[in-house]
């Protein structure tokens, strides 16, 4: 099974998210970068399937040239091919992103001479959370898609996909080639090994310059939600605080 995984480079904020002065992006001057945990899990799932059943894994991202970092990380945990669609670093809306990714996927499939059996997305991107790029790409490619997937069993010509619902799972049997939106929890992503890291340096970065028209959603300004004013009552600095804690548990009625 050949699998393509789409990941997006995003800053990794700590205790607080700061916004740049123009309000157009997260101030990442002192931050590292990562991808959404959903996308990390999508990649791990793809690598596990390829290790078990054969086939190759390709990672694709659209973003600034620095997004090569996320692609190399992908190679370090087992991806065979990495593709970058470079942008000037500005935020692309979901329609524009989906259009460019679709073209990149079509080009890659043409070069391979066959479609990817599975294309995996995160259920939503970590930052802008548009909940749609995967669905748009699936429809442009004319393939079935299901989101919020937390389990995949590849079969012959189809995959069983499990979607979490309240108190259980819905089960889908989707004919391949197909598109799935993955959620964290489907697996436990591995960390790169030293060998993986070395191999990732040698992976060939393919670049696909693709233009696409902006869509109808435009970012005006980012801002932090109003902070709930809070004063913290320090109950103590050792285990004797337990008495006060249990008083509080009684007061609020959670101690039957």
């Amino acid at each position: 099974m050949n699998i393509l995984v789409c990941v997006k480079r995003v800053p990794a904020p700590g205790a607080k998210i700061n916004v740049t002065e123009d309000g157009l992006s997260v101030d990442s001057a002192h931050l590292g970068f990562t991808t959404s945990p959903h996308e990390e899990c999508a990649l791990e799932e793809a690598v596990q399937i390829s290790e078990r059943d054969g086939g190759e894994v390709t990672v694709l991202t659209l973003g600034p040239v620095e997004a090569e970092e996320q692609l190399r990380y992908g190679a370090s945990v087992g991806a065979h091919h990495i593709i970058l669609v470079p942008t000037d670093g500005s935020a692309w809306d979901p329609q524009r992103t989906a259009a460019a990714l679709t073209t990149a996927i079509e080009q890659a499939e043409q070069a391979n001479g066959q479609p990817f059996d599975l294309i995996l997305f995160g259920n939503e991107s970590a930052d802008s959370g548009g909940f749609q790029v995967g669905v748009r790409v699936a429809l442009k490619l004319g393939r079935p898609s299901v989101n919020a997937i937390k389990g995949i069993d590849p079969g012959d010509g189809s995959v069983i996909a499990r979607r979490e619902i309240d108190g259980g799972f819905e089960v889908y049997e989707v004919p391949t080639p197909a598109v799935l939106g993955i959620k964290e929890g489907i697996n436990l992503p591995r960390y790169p090994t030293m060998k993986g890291r070395l191999a990732s340096k040698k992976a060939t970065l393919e670049t696909a310059e693709i233009a696409a028209e902006p869509g109808g959603q435009a970012l005006i300004r980012l801002h932090r939600p109003p902070e709930q004013a809070s004063t913290t009552e320090i109950l103590g600095t050792d285990e004797t605080a337990a008495v006060r804690i249990v008083d509080i548990l009684e007061e609020i009625g959670v101690l039957a």
């Binding site: 904020p13 700590g14 205790a15 607080k16 998210i17 916004v19 970590a126 930052d127 959370g129 548009g130 909940f131 749609q132 669905v135 079935p144 898609s145 989101n147 919020a148 499990r162 979607r163 619902i165 309240d166 108190g167 259980g168 799972f169 819905e170 089960v171 889908y172 049997e173 004919p175 959620k183 964290e184 929890g185 436990l188 992503p189 109808g216 959603q217 435009a218 970012l219 005006i220 980012l222 801002h223 939600p225 709930q228 913290t232 009552e233 320090i234 109950l235 103590g236 600095t237 050792d238 285990e239 605080a241 337990a242 804690i245 249990v246 509080i248 609020i252 959670v254 101690l255 039957a256």
Partner: protein, 324 residues
């Protein structure tokens, strides 16, 4: 002129999110000065018409087809896209649950329209609309504009408080029979694995979480013991799930579960923003941390600045002492 709200159901069972959807849609329709229509799709939908009317729908579009034996993103998305092409509403909305956002994404892709997910407030106008929407799972807000002949947008789940409608809508039923390719059955739900859930993390009255500070998988035994005494559930941070100490089903945060207990006891958790957004709906927060500067501590209502391995057993012992 109308606003179409797409309602959700599970084989004829009303879902709570619909009350939010109708509350938000009534207000938006009134701001737009248009009639509120509702779409109900698939098997069992017929039983829910009166609830949609009670929620304010003037017209209920009942969409049935033999392919629509259960939920399926492609079939439901295509049905809504055909309904929209037929009745031409000015805007389409839903609540941003998994299904709500998926169906609107399907609709938008099929109709080649933009789709703005998880709005908190929406200001309609004759030109482009303005809205404030959620980024980073709620850690950040985005002011955005939506320029399209037909507006497609969802409201963030839990960003609207459900209210009862002042007056019911007429609830006039209009049947709609979409033309669906039988191949769309490919992404219809086949089966369900239902697990018996006791108190779940999202509904537990008390949640006691551990972070990296717990130090090991075994370190969670003391949290389990306390949770049991309190009829609560044990949660954790992503650092803990990544270390393999706990299952992802226990993870609180942006990519885990959102909780809203009477009290959240966060032990050995630094309080990264992605963890905080999952916990901030808690009524009260108690942080137990060795670091007085940790974000979890400075944002909590109560804090103990000490080693959790000493404090947690002391709480358990104190409860046992009082209970005799």
């Amino acid at each position: 002129m109308s606003l179409l709200v797409v309602l959700e159901h599970d084989r004829g069972k009303w879902v709570e999110a619909n009350d939010e959807a109708l509350t938000a849609a009534r207000k938006l329709a009134s701001d737009m000065g248009v009639e509120l229509h509702a779409a109900l799709v698939g098997v069992g939908a017929r039983d829910l018409v009166s609830q949609a009317a009670t929620g304010g729908a003037a017209v209920v579009h009942l969409c049935e087809h033999e392919v629509l034996t259960d939920y399926g993103p492609d079939a439901v998305g295509e049905t809504v896209a055909q309904l929209v092409a037929s009745i031409n509403p000015s805007a389409i909305t839903a609540v941003g649950t998994s299904r709500g956002n998926e169906v609107l994404a399907q609709l938008a892709a099929r109709a080649d329209l933009p789709f703005v997910a998880n709005c908190m407030t929406v200001a309609p106008s004759d030109g482009p609309w303005s809205m404030t929407r959620v980024q980073w799972g709620g850690s950040l807000l985005e002011d955005a504009t939506l320029d399209a002949p037909t507006k497609v947008l969802s409201f963030g789940h839990h960003s609207v408080v459900a209210e009862v409608a002042d007056a019911p809508g007429a609830g006039e039923v209009r049947e709609f029979a979409p033309a669906l390719d039988p191949a769309m059955a490919a992404t219809i739900v086949r089966d369900r694995d239902v697990q018996t859930a006791g108190v779940t993390l999202s509904t537990a009255p008390v949640v006691i979480s551990g972070g990296r500070g717990v130090g090991s998988a075994e370190g969670f035994d003391q949290l389990e013991e306390l949770a049991e005494l309190l009829g609560g559930r044990v949660g954790c941070s992503r650092a803990v799930t990544n270390l393999g100490w706990r299952n992802h089903t226990d993870q609180v945060g942006q990519t885990g579960t959102r909780i809203a207990p009477e009290i959240y006891i966060a032990t050995g958790i630094s309080g990264a923003i992605q963890h905080w957004v999952g916990a901030m709906a808690s009524k009260r927060i108690l942080a137990i941390n060795t670091d007085a500067e940790a974000n979890m501590v400075t944002k909590a209502d109560y804090a103990v600045i000490a080693d959790l391995h000493k404090v947690v057993p002391a709480i358990t012992a104190e409860i046992r002492r009082r209970q005799g």
